[in-house]
């Protein structure tokens, strides 16, 4: 009991102590300076980590953008093989393009040819590393200029799709005719018939094309000459 009383006295007196007793020294300012040194580097470290994280995120964003741009504008780089191909029409050639990213497919694309109007292509054909296009001339020109660019990003679909190209038809130009020319009489059509099974040639006398006219005249002359004395009838069909 008395011990507890003593303990309470000691406890009360110790806890009420607010000033440093004589014989005990404490330099609060010096101690704070040392503590401040320990506090500041931590904050600096935090700032450094913050900047490092920001730089990392920025780098990731930039690399992501570059990767995205590379994917979106697919450049046909590596192997470009041009093969002459006789199709069913006989007038077309097929162009085979091998690309490392050929399995990707684009729904809408455009082919840009310098010094020419861009031609829109609804779909680009990519069939197992091969691109076949009907418009050979355009592709050939584009390959020579190394300027095929597919603008739309591709969707990675494993399935092979067959697509067609569609050229925008050029506007037909009408001949500019003077009003007085419309009143002129209908041109005479001369039919050259050849006795020895020669094909008939329909010739428009009113044609303004001097080359055609000259060519036909030469043909006519040659026919007469080749057939020697074979009779050639020239009939006027009004």
């Amino acid at each position: 009991m008395k011990k507890e009383m003593h303990d309470n006295i000691i406890q009360g007196k110790i806890n009420s102590l607010q000033e440093i007793p004589a014989g005990i020294s404490f330099n609060a300012a010096k101690s704070w300076q040392q503590l401040e040194k320990q506090l500041q580097p931590k904050q600096k470290k935090n700032i450094i980590w913050f900047y490092a994280a920001a730089i990392l995120i920025a780098a990731m964003l930039i690399s992501g953008l570059i990767y995205y741009n590379n994917n979106s504008s697919t450049s046909i780089k590596k192997e470009t093989v041009l093969k002459g191909h006789s199709s069913q029409t006989g007038n077309t050639k097929s162009v085979v393009l091998k690309n490392d990213k050929a399995k990707k497919q684009s729904k809408k694309a455009s082919i840009f040819i310098p010094h020419q109007k861009p031609i829109s292509i609804d779909k680009t054909i990519i069939v197992e590393d091969k691109i076949k296009l009907d418009s050979v001339v355009i592709i050939e020109t584009a390959l020579q200029n190394n300027s095929i660019a597919i603008n739309q990003p591709t969707e990675a679909k494993p399935l092979v799709e067959k697509t067609t190209t569609k050229n925008v038809p050029a506007k037909s130009k009408f001949k500019i005719v003077h009003l007085n020319e419309l009143n002129t009489p209908q041109p005479q059509i001369i039919t050259l018939s050849k006795k020895a099974g020669l094909e008939e040639i329909m010739y428009k006398t009113g044609s303004s094309n001097p080359e055609t006219e000259t060519r036909n005249n030469i043909k006519l002359f040659q026919l007469q000459r080749n057939q020697n004395d074979a009779p050639v009838s020239i009939t006027d069909n009004p």
């Binding site: 008395k2 011990k3 110790i14 005990i24």
Partner: protein, 185 residues
Amino acid sequence: MEFIQLLKECRKGSITAQKYFYDHFAVQMFLYCRRYLKTNEQAEEVLQNGFLKIFTGLIDFTFLNEAATVGWMKKIMLNECLQEIRKRNNVLSIADEIDENIYVENEVAIEKLSADEIFRLITQIPVGYRTVFNLYVVEGFNHKEIAEMLKISEGTSKSQLSKARNLLQQLIITRNMVYEERNAR
């Protein structure tokens, strides 16, 4: 500035607020540490570490009132002190001999002593005894708790407390004798 506002500023990392906070509690916490540790330098070192942990721990600290905050700070300081004591092997592992009878009660002498004098007398007790004395008498822990904290047996805790009381008593008697001699002259 209100105490809670001060804590918020310290939590944000404001050096000015931390300085203000430190100035407000430095002496109190230094005396707290000095009661456990042997020298002023050790106490200062532990004080710095303790404040560092306090400023770091403010992020997770939930404010109730100022008294609870001071209690939380004292707990941090106590852990730092005990860690320092363990590091320096200052806890004496004495055999479980309980010699409570040695203690000579001198109620009047203790009552006459000032807070400063009691503090100085406690700091003169060896660290091993002093630790148990501080934990039991000043902090109010029981022997079981002290045994767990210091990783000693309850008997050792009781023994060390008894020795600490005895030593304190002897110190008080010595001090009174010196005081009486001075007065006699």
